[in-house]
């Protein structure tokens, strides 16, 4: 072989090697990453602060004894009530005031803090959740929820919890619950009121599973609306419900419509065994979205 050709091939090989080595650092791997240990989220069905303390303690113990794990959990308090002064819990529709919700979340945080013991490095993302099915799916509702979250966040800061506790909001936004315009108003109200990060743990029902051209979803939503409330708004992130393969497909297409990052999948296998396990939900969302940012695995349970 001509020496010049050999040298050219050598230079080209060096270039490809260097580029490939760099890209392997910044591009997602094709293989599915190992699923992190699943953290338990809760539909809160009680106002007993000791119960919430114990649930936090369980998570703190688990995070510590599993090698100082970072986790993210959602405490779901149901939809906001008509007076915008509390929520109606799931199932019983019992009213709970915002002050009690703050106290319950603080007790969960306290339990986690104390029971994480000698673990001084792991960080818990504690998110306080509502949904878009009840009242105040509007700017005032979003602002009020930012107030609840910031009250707990300030309490955590004033008490020296911030190094291991990152308090945020959460909202189970589903197209079937309400239309896009009021839900967007809630998000914008939350953002304007200085709400910290929140996760949308809802669904994208009816959205396309194989196309990403801003297709329509149920109840007048479209892919861009789902993207906005799940990543487009400044504090928005997503831990979508991945109960079925179709849901992973829908979120994968939304990410192809516009870039977004997922904190990880939420499953409900403990409540409905016909739905995906944590491992199935993790693999399905990873494969559908490319797995570039997934950090957590979440599963919802009942608090009592």
């Amino acid at each position: 072989m001509n020496r010049n050709v050999r040298v050219t091939i050598l230079a080209l090989a060096m270039f490809l090697l260097a580029t490939g080595s760099f890209l392997s650092q910044v591009m997602p791997a094709l293989a599915v990453a190992p699923q992190p240990t699943t953290a338990w989220s809760f539909y809160v069905l009680t106002t007993n602060t000791s119960t919430l303390y114990n649930l936090g303690c369980n998570q703190g113990t688990a995070d510590w004894h599993n090698g100082n794990l970072n986790s993210e959990i959602i405490l779901d308090f149901g939809g906001q009530a008509s007076g915008n002064n509390g929520t109606n819990l799931l199932f019983s529709y019992a009213f709970v005031s915002y002050a009690t919700i703050e106290s319950l979340a603080e007790n969960y945080a306290d339990g986690w803090w104390i029971c994480s013991g000698a673990d001084y490095t792991s960080v818990l993302d504690l998110t306080i959740g509502t949904n878009n099915s009840n009242y105040h799916i509007d700017s005032a509702g979003g602002a009020a929820w930012a107030g609840v979250v910031n009250t707990v966040r300030t309490w955590a800061s004033n008490n020296g919890f911030t190094s291991q506790l990152n308090v945020g909001g959460a909202n189970d936004m589903e197209p079937g619950f309400d239309t896009y315009p009021p839900t967007k108003s809630w998000v914008d109200g939350y953002t304007s009121a200085g709400g910290p990060y929140y996760v949308n743990y809802g669904s994208a029902d009816g959205c396309p599973q194989t196309t990403h051209t801003n297709g329509g979803c149920n109840n007048g939503w479209n892919q861009d609306g789902e993207w906005y409330v799940s990543y487009g708004a400044l504090p928005a992130y997503s831990t979508p419900e991945i109960y079925y393969q179709s849901q992973a497909n829908q979120w994968g297409q939304i990410k192809l419509w516009k870039y977004m990052a997922f904190h990880g999948p939420l499953d409900e296998h403990d409540l409905n065994t016909s739905t995906f396990t944590p491992a199935q939900a993790w693999t399905a969302l990873w494969n559908a979205e490319g797995g570039t940012q997934m950090l957590y695995s979440l599963e919802v349970h009942h608090s009592n």
Binding site: A18, T46, T47, T100, D110, S157, D172, G206, N272
Partner: protein, 196 residues
């Protein structure tokens, strides 16, 4: 002559290697700056940086809490239920499984504090296809400490003959009266858990 040709060839080879290396460096610099600028310049990137700064300030401002003592206040508020029709779309779970129009809850035939909860609407749909008109029935009882409720699912009952999602209209005794968007009436017996 032959020696000169060999030197020229060597120089040309060195030139190729140098060009290859230069291409590597330029490509890497371009990719690095593209990645860096994408991460930092977007409004979301700026917002994330500010959040991280605020968090760092909060961590520095207050000493780490002791892990020996409790800090959170307790609460004594007991949740209060309301009997009757509830005009809310909050259902018993995700809307992909059941899409509630409204609900009714209360004691049935002297069941005391153990209440029946009925959500009316249609089975949910992950796709754009409409669900089947149905009701979901649960039983809710107060927990021993009085701070919460234990929820027990009873079943989902579909009425394929109905012409649209159901809504609770009224309740008389053990019969719950439901209406469809077209105004047609359907009755559901809370005791036998069957459509009449």
């Amino acid at each position: 002559m032959a020696q000169n040709r060999s030197i020229t060839r060597q120089n040309r080879s060195i030139g190729f290697v140098a060009a290859g290396l230069a291409a590597c460096v330029i490509a890497l610099v371009a990719v690095v700056s593209a990645v860096a600028s994408t991460g930092n310049a977007s409004p979301k990137g700026v917002w994330e940086q500010q959040q991280a700064k605020d968090r760092a300030v909060a961590i520095a401002a207050v000493p780490r809490a002791s892990k020996q003592v409790r800090h959170a206040p307790s609460s004594s508020e007991k949740p209060v239920r309301q009997a009757g029709i509830i005009n809310s779309r909050q259902g018993p779970g995700p809307s992909s499984e059941f899409l509630a129009v409204n609900s009714w809850q209360g004691p049935v035939l002297g069941s005391g504090s153990t209440w029946t909860v009925v959500w009316a609407g249609s089975t949910g749909s992950l796709s754009a296809a409409p669900g089947t008109p149905a009701v979901v029935v649960h039983i809710d009882a107060p927990t021993a400490d009085g701070f919460g409720f234990t929820d027990t699912p009873v079943g989902t009952y579909a009425d394929r003959a109905a012409d649209g999602p159901l809504a609770v209209s009224s309740v008389t005794g053990e019969t719950i009266v439901l209406v469809t968007p077209a105004g047609n009436t359907v009755r559901f017996n809370l005791q036998t858990r069957q459509f009449a």
